[in-house]
């Protein structure tokens, strides 16, 4: 059985990072106890080996739909169910499958019933050379 974790600190999900032909894809979880509209979630940064990826090269994928990071704030009717993984699809030429890499994601939540709260969570994962 899987180990218990403090799930409200988890951003990178069990699926971790997968290398893709154009970069990489990260399984992400909502670090909150309940589902939230996508409009209340922001991806602040995605980095590889400490270097931030240009946000224009990242899309947020939920239930097979892709959103530009800048379009997330408008998704008031799209709910991220708390048990589901979403994905970040990242274009990057920094991935060398033969080398180890560290990936980091920083996410902010703006829980819609707590005015003025911004909750920032960063999570990181090291992917060893294949």
């Amino acid at each position: 059985m899987k180990k218990n974790r403090v799930m409200t600190s988890v951003v990178i999900g069990d699926g971790g990072v997968a290398i893709t032909p154009t970069g990489f894809r990260i399984d992400i979880r909502l670090p909150w106890y309940r589902s939230l509209p996508v409009s209340t979630v922001a991806i602040d940064s995605v980095s590889i080996d400490g270097v931030a990826v240009d946000s224009a090269n990242v899309t947020f994928e939920l239930d097979g739909r892709q959103f530009a990071l800048s379009a997330m704030a408008d998704q008031v009717d799209t709910v991220w169910y708390v048990l589901d993984s979403a994905y970040l699809n990242v274009k990057s030429d920094r991935v060398d499958p033969g080398a180890a890499h560290e990936f980091a994601v920083t996410m902010s939540l703006y829980p819609p019933y707590i005015r003025g709260l911004r909750r920032m969570t960063q999570d990181r994962i090291v992917l060893n050379a294949s």
Partner: protein, 331 residues
């Protein structure tokens, strides 16, 4: 004089957040384990956590839920609903929009057989006043969760109390959350900060200010000012500032004023001392107040240590209920 306790026990699945979100237990397995561990019979759930598509409740889900509740001999107690007033960031919903946002959540409670819908301050008294007739029609009581930093006599709560007095409906009530009436900040929470490298001097300062007088916002401001003057680590000082909204040190007897309209209780807890007592919340003072003043409803064991601890929540709830039984059985 002490009386025979009519207070009933139960669990909120919120306490089992880590078990559920880590996908170790499905919703159905949580119910099964709650029954197997005898930490019901009361069952509280958070709509937006347990139910995909909430507040839409399909007939299929409702039937399955009722079948499971019957199979595991559980009793639905409270459905936690949310006052999501700022789904569009920077824009707050109007009263009409908030009424419309709450209605389907209340209907969900009725469809699933919950006698109480837990609501939040963000709804505001006017929205709840307008929803009172629907609550009556559905047979679902609306209970305001009174959580730190608010308390029975907090200005935010007084606004609802004034409205309740005018409307005078048995379908409007209160849900005391023991976070408002803590003795101290849970030592396990402070230990979590120490483990993250937060300086002892910063923790000492935070606790000194926390124990002082004044509302939470004022004390938090004082603490931040003094911490910054002492050149504390900015990230650490912000993280630690959570203790001000999370825990209040109001007198437990404040709950007495609300007692006749208490419709549910959140038995908030974090950890235990070496005697098996809650480490920060004085249950020996709290439980007899409710027992001896006629409260005959449910209390959900609401472990919130899952925010910083990966301990087995089922075990924590078992210990909580054993402690409560011991206290209630004593004079």
């Amino acid at each position: 004089m002490s009386q025979v306790s009519q207070l009933k026990f139960g669990t909120t699945l919120y306490a089992l957040t880590n078990e559920f979100l880590s996908r170790r237990y499905s919703f159905e397995q949580l119910l099964e384990e709650t029954a197997a561990r005898r930490i019901g019979p009361g069952l509280e759930i958070v709509g937006f956590q347990s139910i995909r598509g909430f507040p839409v409740i399909t007939d299929e889900f409702a039937e399955r839920f009722k079948m499971l509740v019957e199979k595991f001999h559980l009793t639905p107690t409270s459905l936690a609903i949310n006052a999501d007033q700022e789904i569009r960031r920077g824009t707050v919903m109007s009263v009409d929009e908030m009424v419309a946002y709450h209605e389907p959540q209340m209907r969900a409670a009725a469809k699933l057989g919950f006698p109480v819908a837990r609501y939040q301050y963000g709804a505001g008294p006017e929205v709840i006043r307008r929803l009172a007739p629907l609550a009556e029609k559905l047979g679902v009581k609306l209970g305001l969760e009174i959580h730190a930093p608010q308390h029975a006599n907090h200005p935010d709560v007084l606004k609802f109390r004034e409205m309740y007095a005018k409307v005078n409906s048995p379908y409007l009530g209160w849900i005391p959350d023991f976070s408002s009436t803590a003795r101290t900040v849970p030592p396990s929470f402070l230990a979590h900060f120490r483990a993250r490298g937060v300086a002892e001097s910063l923790i000492d300062l935070a606790m000194e200010v926390w124990q002082g007088t004044g509302d939470a916002q004022t004390r938090m401001g004082q603490y931040k000012e003094r911490a910054r003057a002492a050149h504390a680590n900015e990230i650490h000082l912000n993280e630690l500032s959570l203790i001000f909204p999370m825990f209040g040190h109001e007198d437990p007897r404040g709950w007495l004023e609300l007692m006749p309209a208490v419709v549910h209780i959140h038995g908030k807890f974090f950890g235990f001392d070496s005697h098996g007592n809650e480490e920060a919340i004085d249950y020996a003072a709290l439980l007899p107040l409710f027992r001896d003043n006629g409260y005959a409803g449910f209390m959900s064991s609401e472990w919130e240590g899952h925010m910083y601890s990966d301990a087995d929540a089922f075990e924590m709830i078992e210990r909580h209920q054993a402690m409560c039984r011991r206290i209630l059985a004593a004079a």
